[in-house]
């Protein structure tokens, strides 16, 4: 097991290096291959109508005049070893993991992402609890009562949930439960948990429900399909033949087998969400990583885009790692 984990860790690190190379290539190499000059690249990082001095300052600051492999090396080195940065009045140290300084607000990127992370984590975890409970519960009931009115209603709702875009349900929920019936007057703003737990909860109820609606729909369909398949398995008949009560057959034998693939999908979904629930955060003005990414793209703020891409990549790789290890734990047939 230990060697298995070490092996998976090494491949995770390799994955991250590949992610960093791909990210670097997209933002530094591809534009150059497309024929952009150093000045044109630098012009993206300064205001409109820049003087040659401004351009030159940007070229030096971001090392755009250096060979590509050196730029990549600097990029990696900065992440791992940190960097000293001239604020004008003093040398600021950007400790590792250092993703550099934002072009547009001159603040180090990493602390900004760290500040955004709890927001996204709050959103993702709360929504995940909701969608797991609702999605799996509805999926199991639908499978056990296949063809019943409950099954039909739940699966129709699930289809709607999968089809409706988040920004639509988000705006609808805001219009309904904040503007028309002010159940959640503070929705659309965010209060940190550490500041005021009650307000934190209140500010997140609508985002949770909105985000969970989509995923609950997906998970209900997945669970239903998995459950229908599992309940036809021989081992379910064996469990019944032993004289188990039906509840125990369903939960301990049926659900246990159904949930294994769902755990995989869940791990990856959470990994992706922590990387930024872009639409939900935008619609509810939550200052999380998704909103951060949108802002970074809007401002063409390369260090921020790189940072958030790397962090999102990290979470996906990390989630994969956790899922692999978890899978080995929950499915005894997996060899490691």
């Amino acid at each position: 097991m230990i060697t298995f984990i070490i092996r998976r860790l090494i491949s995770a690190v390799l994955m991250l290096i590949v992610v960093s190379m791909a990210t670097f290539a997209v933002f530094f190499l591809v534009p150059r291959l497309a024929g952009q000059t150093t000045e044109q690249l630098a012009a993206q990082y300064v205001g409109r109508n820049p003087t040659p001095e401004v351009l030159h300052a940007a070229i030096v600051k971001f090392g755009l005049d250096k060979p590509v492999y050196l730029q990549y090396w600097e990029f990696l080195k900065t992440i791992v070893a940190g960097e000293n940065y001239d604020t004008g009045t003093s040398l600021a140290h950007c400790p590792p993991p250092c993703f550099g300084y934002s072009f547009h607000n001159q603040q180090p990127v990493w602390p900004q992402m760290l500040a955004a992370l709890p927001v996204t984590a709050s959103l993702a975890i709360g929504a995940a609890v909701l969608w797991l409970v609702a999605g799996i519960g509805i999926g199991v009931l639908s499978a056990l009562r296949r063809g019943s009115w409950f099954d039909r209603a739940a699966m129709s709702a699930a289809l709607a949930g999968v089809s409706l875009p988040v920004f639509f349900t988000a705006l609808l929920s805001l219009a309904l439960f904040r503007d028309t019936i002010p159940l959640f007057p503070d929705a659309g703003t965010y209060t940190p948990l550490t500041e005021n737990p009650a307000k934190w909860f209140e500010s997140l109820v609508l985002p949770w429900v909105t985000l969970a609606f989509l995923y609950a729909a997906l998970y209900a369909r997945l669970t239903r399909a998995g459950m229908l398949e599992t309940m036809n398995e021989d081992f379910i008949r064996t469990a019944r033949a032993k004289g188990l009560r039906e509840r125990r057959v369903v939960v301990k034998h049926g659900l246990r087998a159904t949930l294994t693939p769902i755990v995989t999908i869940f791990g990856l979904d959470i990994g992706l969400l922590i990387g930024g629930a872009v639409l939900t955060e935008t619609a509810f003005s939550l200052p999380g990583l998704g909103r951060f990414a949108i802002g970074a793209i809007g401002d063409q703020d390369l260090p921020e885009i790189l940072g958030v891409t790397m962090l999102a990549g990290f979470f996906v790789v990390f989630a994969n790692l956790i899922v692999d290890i978890l899978y080995a734990v929950i499915d005894p047939r997996v060899r490691y």
Binding site: D234, G243, E246, A257, P332, R333
Partner: protein, 368 residues
């Protein structure tokens, strides 16, 4: 009984025997330990009613073994699942009577049947790899089976599980108890399955194709094991198989099934020495025997088993039977009823006794 949607809605309000208000409209309980009377299991489908079991009757005593023999699709597994109460009410229409130790099961509540399952009657299945839960250790599955019906601690149940594994011949049971089914060999898995089925000392053991998934040498070991355990526990055993060879030495009685109905039923010795039904002849012909040359040892029955939705008219076997013309159109038009051959030995065939003996003696036996 699978009761997810019926246990709540279906409540058996009739008083139980022995309580006040009980009206004895039912036939008297039989003397036999297990008696099945006119059992019918029908599955309504969009294409028509599948009559998987259509009027079966048989008896079994403690310490005795019944072999139910037939091709796949002949209704033998459906019959055994009906005895165990494992059909869904929503899918299967069951009628007739199943008497187990004086208690009728078809009309009993789901909860009552469930409480008997695993304790009074147990079942082992054809493919132990798919029949055991892949995510739980073998020990955990035996412990679970034991603790449903016995209020003991986990530690006690675990000790019992190790004993059971030991009893079915698994080496080093104390360490193997924590292994998962996929870590066992096929034969070991079937032994573990048997250990699980026998963990509550059932009085009726149903073995559904217990050796089909195993190779020949292991088959023999498993059959020996079942026989040994039967003698030890004095339980009644039903062995379901498509292979007459499996039950040749084990069974006291044999019931040959075809298309959901009994083709021939009687003591094993008579079935082997003087089979009456052309289908039984076919089964005997396709039975591998060690005392014959490899080249000519199998005489397969021509044709394929019939669809249970569109059962052939008359005798269901007539399209595959070599002798229907001996009876004019009878085999094509009239469903043959079970007729007594000799004492307990009955057969459902329109052929006259003379024809049957003549064909058996002149055409079949010499070629076996």
């Amino acid at each position: 009984m699978s009761n997810t949607d019926s246990s709540d809605s279906f409540v058996d309000v009739r008083p139980l025997p022995g309580t006040e208000g009980y009206v004895d409209t039912e036939p008297t309980p039989p003397a036999a330990f297990l008696e099945v009377r006119d059992l019918r299991v029908h599955f309504p489908t969009d294409d028509g009613v599948v009559k998987s079991a259509d009027g079966l009757s048989f008896q079994l005593e403690r310490g005795q073994t019944l072999g139910i023999v037939g091709e796949s699709g002949s209704g033998k597994s459906v019959t055994s699942l009906a005895v165990m109460g494992l059909h869904k009410h929503s899918q299967a229409k069951i009628s007739g009577e199943i008497w187990l130790d004086g208690e009728e099961l078809v009309k009993a509540t789901d909860e009552r049947v469930r409480s008997l399952r695993g304790k009074k009657m147990a079942m082992i299945f054809q493919d132990p790899l798919s029949a055991m839960h892949p995510y739980y250790s073998v020990g955990a599955q035996i412990i679970e089976a034991y603790r449903i019906h016995n209020k003991v601690t986990k530690a006690v149940a675990r000790k019992h599980a190790i004993e059971m594994l030991d009893r079915v011949g698994i080496p080093q049971p104390a360490s193997r108890v924590d292994d998962y089914p996929h870590q066992f060999s096929g034969g070991m898995r079937q032994r573990a399955m048997i250990a699980m089925a026998l963990s509550c000392d059932p009085e009726l053991l149903i073995a559904d194709e217990p050796t089909t998934a195993l190779d020949v040498t292991v088959q023999a070991q498993i059959l020996d094991l079942i026989r040994d355990l039967q003698q030890e526990f004095n339980s009644a055993v039903i062995i379901i198989t498509h292979d007459l060879g499996v039950v040749a030495e084990l069974a006291d009685d044999i019931m040959v099934m075809y298309a959901g109905r009994t083709a021939e039923y009687g003591p094993a010795g008579e079935i082997f020495s003087a089979p009456q039904h052309p289908y039984a002849w076919g089964l005997l012909g396709s039975m591998p025997r060690l005392d014959r040359e490899r080249t000519d040892r199998l005489l397969p029955i021509k044709g394929t088993p019939p669809s249970l939705i569109n059962v052939p008219t008359g005798c269901a076997f007539h399209p595959r039977c070599a002798y229907p013309k001996l009876n004019g159109t009878r085999c094509y038009d009239e469903v043959p009823q079970l007729r007594e051959v000799d004492g307990k030995h009955t057969v459902a065939c329109h052929l006259s006794a003379e024809d049957r003996y003549r064909v058996w003696d002149t055409e079949i036996r010499p070629n076996l």
